[in-house]
């Protein structure tokens, strides 16, 4: 559009760049393969449950039964995109995740950075964390119910705990991963200890921190749902168990799929935030063709 035979082509910017990228994406096989893949899985699922009605699979709701209920204004088994209850469960779970992930990140990142930065802080705290970390989240359930009142407290506590360990460890390893020469260069250039923390430790650890945050938000969802199944009054995890208890399988699967999509979306948000904060890293990887 901008280029002709005798003028140098102008690189597209802004909206045009976006359009260019979308167009370019559809010239390759990737998007078509993704669509084909999704349909292949759905088709297999349908064949097993509804097409051939294979033994045992008949107990599960097939894709047709699920979508009929999911998109119906009058769902047969109670949950659809038109019922307020559905959104209440989603809202409660998301709110819990936001709180848990927020607390875990707010505590874990600084703690991990300080542990990586200062030998003595690490000596104080790291062994304790390493002993607590392998304890499975479900093993914390009774303790958290004893310790915290109500439904919300224990559920949020469990999600926070799981997420916290991952975040802390990754932030610490992030500092360890920084090349010693950056610290030396910063020293030569006349940095105070605080300058080093701001300009070397934090940005140098960011790639690891964001890898950690992506894992940690996944772990947060994972432990949240487990906690909601054990002790909860609302939320997607509770919905799954409740549906199972009441022998209504469609809402169970709807809740599972919903969790999948929300989980995917939340990781994508974390990834996008990371890419925004680490322009240098994205460009470096792009330079290496990755």
């Amino acid at each position: 559009m901008n280029s002709s035979a005798n003028t140098t082509p102008v690189a597209p910017e802004g909206f045009n760049l976006f359009i260019y990228r979308v167009k370019k994406k559809f010239t390759g096989p990737d998007p078509y393969l993704t669509v084909a893949g999704v349909f292949l899985w759905l088709f297999t699922y349908w064949v097993l449950c509804e097409g051939l009605e294979i033994w045992r699979f008949t107990k599960l709701p097939g894709p047709v039964a699920i979508s009929k209920d999911w998109f119906s204004t009058t769902p047969f088994q109670g949950i659809s995109i038109f019922t307020a209850e559905y959104y209440e469960h989603i809202y409660v779970s998301c709110q819990r995740i936001l709180i848990a992930f927020g607390i875990a990140t707010g505590l874990g990142v600084p703690l991990g950075l300080f542990m990586g930065w200062s030998r003595s802080i690490r000596d104080y705290i790291f062994p304790v964390i390493e002993v607590l970390r392998p304890i499975p989240i479900l093993a914390w359930v009774p303790l958290s119910i004893l310790l915290l009142p109500g439904f919300e407290g224990p559920v949020i506590f469990l999600a926070t705990l799981a997420s916290f360990f991952v975040t802390t460890l990754n932030a610490m390893l992030g500092v360890d991963s920084i090349d010693e020469e950056y610290f030396r260069a910063a020293g030569c250039l006349g940095s105070s200890r605080w300058d080093v923390f701001k300009n070397v430790v934090v940005p140098g650890a960011l790639p690891f921190i964001f890898t950690g945050l992506q894992i940690s938000i996944g772990v947060a969802w994972f432990s949240l749902v487990a906690a909601e199944m054990v002790s909860g009054d609302l939320g997607l995890g509770y919905l799954i168990v409740d549906a199972y208890m009441n022998n209504v399988t469609v809402p169970m699967v709807i809740a599972m799929i919903t969790l999948g999509f929300i989980g995917y979306f939340s990781s994508a948000c974390v990834r996008a935030l990371g890419d925004k904060l680490m322009g240098w890293h994205v460009k470096e990887l792009a330079q290496q063709g990755r």
Partner: protein, 287 residues
């Protein structure tokens, strides 16, 4: 007596950055077995001199540089800069300071800062300039070094040659007395290296900063240096000093001159002997 001669030295040459390394010894004991990296090594480097250190791999050259920069302590001896004690018996480890700037073997521009931010970093944290002034000066200096179009780029986006040039600018913006370079052009191809040499010589002719340059490349050593100090294999001692009396400014044609070739043979003879010793010592250690 030694103190006197040194004082005379600094007053005679007005240029700053005279390094005096006296009887420096460094012993490591990482596994309880003492390893002597540097043994009673002495060197005098006049202010504004380009001093090239040549020796076999792992001989302790970098240990010497680390001691001057203040990254490591020394076990015995002393190092003075312009008559001031950097490290010695009372103070085994020199303090890190912007008067002694290091350019690293693998390059240590902060990858998370643009070239301009990298260069502006020193004066900003030293509070020598306000952040905006520092950025302005940094932009100017990068432009002078031929990097004007790349100031907003991250180090990962430019070639290794450009990054190395920017790193030298980052050092020079602090007006250091001494520039310490540890094989900065090691991983570069011959053509890039040539450009880097010319750029460094041009910088030197402009600033007259003292340069302490570690290298394995003998041609590089003679082409750049005023003096080539050949050191022995571990423990590091001064074996021989070769003066390079080729007038400046030098251009790459210098390298094909008769004088240059003769110096190369002289240096090569001294280094080869040490390299053979180092190799044999390595074989013994492996066996």
């Amino acid at each position: 007596m030694k103190e006197e001669s040194m004082a005379k030295n600094t007053s005679k040459t007005e240029k700053k950055g005279a390094l005096s390394i006296k009887n420096v010894t460094k012993i490591y004991d990482p596994t309880g077995v003492n390893v002597m990296a540097v043994d009673n090594c002495s060197m005098e480097i006049a202010g504004g001199e380009v001093c090239m250190i040549v020796g076999p791999s792992g001989c302790g050259k970098t240990t010497l540089l680390n001691a001057i920069a203040g990254f490591h302590s020394i076990t015995e001896g002393s190092i003075h800069l312009d008559g001031e004690l950097l490290c010695g018996p009372e103070r085994p480890k020199a303090e890190q300071s912007a008067e002694r700037m290091v350019v690293f073997q693998h390059g240590a521009l902060f990858p998370w800062k643009t070239l301009q931010e990298n260069v502006a970093y020193g004066p900003t944290v030293q509070k020598a300039l306000s952040p905006s002034q520092a950025m302005e000066k940094s932009g100017q200096m990068l432009a002078e070094a031929g990097l004007g179009n790349f100031i907003k780029k991250f180090p990962g986006e430019v070639s290794s040659g450009m990054a190395r040039r920017a790193e030298i600018v980052r050092a020079l913006i602090n007006n250091p007395k001494v520039l310490l370079l540890d094989e900065p052009y090691r991983a570069m191809d011959a053509l890039t290296k040539q450009i880097m040499h010319e750029s460094l010589l041009e910088t030197y002719d402009r600033t007259g900063v003292t340069i302490f340059f570690i290298t394995h490349d003998l041609e590089e050593a003679i082409f750049l240096g005023d003096k080539v100090h050949i050191v022995t294999t571990r423990p590091c001692q001064l074996k021989k000093t070769v003066e390079v009396k080729i007038p400046r400014p030098r251009s790459y044609e210098t390298q094909s001159s008769e004088k240059f070739r003769k110096l190369l043979v002289e240096v090569n003879d001294a280094v080869h002997e040490e390299a053979v010793k180092a190799f044999k010592a390595g074989e013994r250690e492996m066996a």
